[in-house]
Symmetry: C2
Subunit: 429 residues, 2 copies
């Protein structure tokens, strides 16, 4: 039986899941793949902190990275450190010491992936990151290996369980945004400061990693245009329902004629689309490949054990040597390909707009005429009864058109005094 010494950097929630799984399932790894996975060293900022979880005997606990980097027995390091500064230094130290690294840090790879993958290659080592996207769902492997024979036309995905939980509670329980966020925090699905989740940044980081693999290209995180869910109202949720849709925070990566469309935004998803059924804190990834057609993966995108499940899948790939063959081979690790990215103006999408108007003759005609002048082909229009204050809501759904044209039309409608407040727009999947 081959003994594989493992180091762990970071002993927080997810690190605890890794410790638990390595301890609890040691026999499983022996039985299933003849591997004796032995956690030998844990490095954490505060080793003295009192914790509920005990480390197995013989595990060295330290706050010095050298405890791992100087240990020649450790071939693979599990890197569960957040942020992009200290986390980056620690990852680099491991590579320079000749260790392979399995990381959960999507922000780090999305921001500094080019540099880090190049450094790994220079040292003949590899960085694996299955856990960085969609937690326990093996989507990195599916996209990289399972769909290797496919040109990827499009990925549409729900990649943030916090946002999905909030949107689900708003829709199913009629909660407002703040109340749903509070419920997510109470259940541990949202952090005390949920900014990076709800503003779409976390989703954008994950999308950048998926797009790197799908399109074999350099995808800077800044190439992803991002809108969050913070400004969604109950009215948006209710309107979606009326139209037979749900609002999801959709990450979209599409290959269009002029370049890649990469965006994260609250989006209307028809109830019969597979992603509409991905609710609560689940993640879902819908991939359209040229040979396999559409493939959907759904599962737990976060949490200590699902994330540890993905981490240990990478560890097994590392210690069996399979991942080295992957890292040496696959272009996305070292891609210098630059594909043009579409701006919001160039994005070709179907849109929804809600106009709050004064209930007087000519408003609807004014709106439709401006839309038409900007090339927006209307798929459906719904005009509600005027409320007590004499305001009527007009909702419009368009066929796909350029984002620039659509936004210009809405701006012109608002400027023309046809509306009583700035209009609300959403994309349609």
């Amino acid at each position: 039986m081959e003994r594989c010494a493992l180091g762990l950097i970071g002993w927080g929630t997810v690190g605890g899941g890794v410790v638990e799984l390595l301890t609890r399932e040691a026999e499983l790894f022996r039985e299933r793949c003849g591997l004796d996975l032995a956690l030998t060293t844990v490095v954490t900022r505060a080793p003295e902190r009192v914790r509920e979880q005990a480390l197995p005997r013989n595990v060295t606990l330290s706050n010095r990275i050298e405890t791992i980097t100087n240990d020649a027995n450790i071939g693979t390091v599990i890197h569960v450190v957040g942020g992009t500064t200290v986390a980056k230094d620690l990852l680099i130290a491991c590579l320079k010491a000749g260790k392979n690294v399995v990381t959960t840090n999507k922000a780090l790879l999305a921001e500094h992936g080019d540099e880090l993958f190049a450094l790994a290659a220079k040292h003949g080592r590899a960085i694996a990151f299955e856990a960085a996207v969609a937690g326990g769902v093996p989507v990195i492997a599916a996209l990289r290996d399972g769909l290797v024979a496919n040109r990827i036309d499009a990925i549409h995905a729900i990649l943030n369980g916090t946002c999905n939980f909030i949107l689900t509670r708003m829709e199913q329980d009629g909660m407002g945004y703040d109340e749903a966020l509070g419920a997510a925090q109470k259940l541990g699905y949202a952090e005390a400061d949920p900014t990076l989740d709800v503003d779409g940044t976390d989703t954008a980081h994950k999308l950048a990693l998926l797009a790197r693999i799908a399109f074999n290209a350099r995808i800077p995180a800044s190439a992803v245009r991002v809108e969050g869910i913070q400004n969604l109202t109950f009215q948006d949720i209710a309107s979606a329902r009326t139209m037979g849709c749900r609002i999801k925070l959709i990450a979209c990566a599409r290959r269009l004629a002029d370049g890649l469309d990469l965006h994260v935004a609250p989006t209307l998803v028809a109830l019969d689309h597979p992603l509409a059924a991905v609710n609560q804190n689940y993640n879902g990834i819908h991939i359209h490949g040229s040979a396999a057609g559409p493939t959907l993966l759904v599962g737990q995108g976060a949490g200590p054990l699902p994330t540890a499940s993905a981490v240990l899948a990478d560890v097994v790939d590392m210690v069996t040597g399979r991942y080295a063959a992957t890292a040496v081979r696959f272009a996305f690790f070292r891609s210098t390909t630059v594909i043009p990215f579409l701006s919001a103006r160039q994005e070709q999408t179907g849109y929804y707009a809600r106009f709050i108007t004064a209930d007087r003759p000519g408003v609807l005609a004014g709106i439709t005429s401006i839309l038409s002048r900007h090339g927006a082909s209307v798929q459906s229009i719904h005009q509600g009864n005027a409320d007590a204050a004499g305001r009527a809501t007009i909702e419009v759904i368009t066929h796909p058109l350029l984002g620039g044209s659509f936004n210009a039309a809405v701006t012109e409608i608002d400027a023309a005094g046809l509306t009583t407040c700035p209009s609300t727009t959403l994309r349609r999947l």
Copy 2:
């Protein structure tokens, strides 16, 4: 650029998909993973047959397996041959000649996997079979590698697109079984002789392969208890709808206290279960793992290009050497573990029963008293109005109980003269 000479045995529908993908996407494999995948030899029973598809220049076409087995340049053979006799001989010939084999043949591996995997190991070669289960959906890799850190508690899956298409048309379009089968045949989703699809055999073969990986055990195809969809009526479909369910041909592999429950049967699936949304000719696999929780994979389970997509994923794994590390390592290839299999009597499941009764006092009391005596706890009962002939339909849904107890109760109810025809039963997911 590394040139990998490939042989192909079988040039039918799926073989044609492999030829198409290798020809069309040669550049993709070069770009994505630095591989020059070169189809050099095709062996088929009738090379002289006139076909729509042309082979690339320089490809040798032959009806002699030696054209491949004697060619030292060919390291990996793609085996797309149906049946379990000639197909077996051809696969064995390849292994003996020192070739790795990628096969799509689920029946062959389900029936003779132990022998074939052992032979491969003896010759230091490997057999890959991603395409054998759920076509383009990378479920073998997900179960084997992505979820390697999980004890698998249960798999519930829709693994036969033909059956799923028929059931979808019966439900959505109110077609009878024969009409829906005809529609499937017209679209190429069902063969002229659809027996192995509709009677559940094909699904059982695929389930046996998934269970082998999930439970690291020998799973003879005969361990799977099988019922098909041939006897389903429109009444069954309509009853399911009334109860907020759909009927799916569900393959189930569960680890229960006394052993493995392996069965394929038409099953009531609640509309809010993820598999209820897997319709038309799609396949879906719902896996419950101890760490990742529930994971769902959905996609095209058949067809030339989706199947070729999976074949070529295996080919890339083979020629990069990654699959050798897998085959050498993973226990399920050579498992001698024998786990007890549960009989229908031992299966613990919730059931549905439909009793056609004479509409007279005491019938309902008689039925519930017999159910109760056999330990069946009733979850709900629905009694319809009597029809013109004075027959009333009583539908019962039970909480989970032993199959033996439930079947004994229904047999006793029918024998007691409480029903006017043999009663219909279905499992519930």
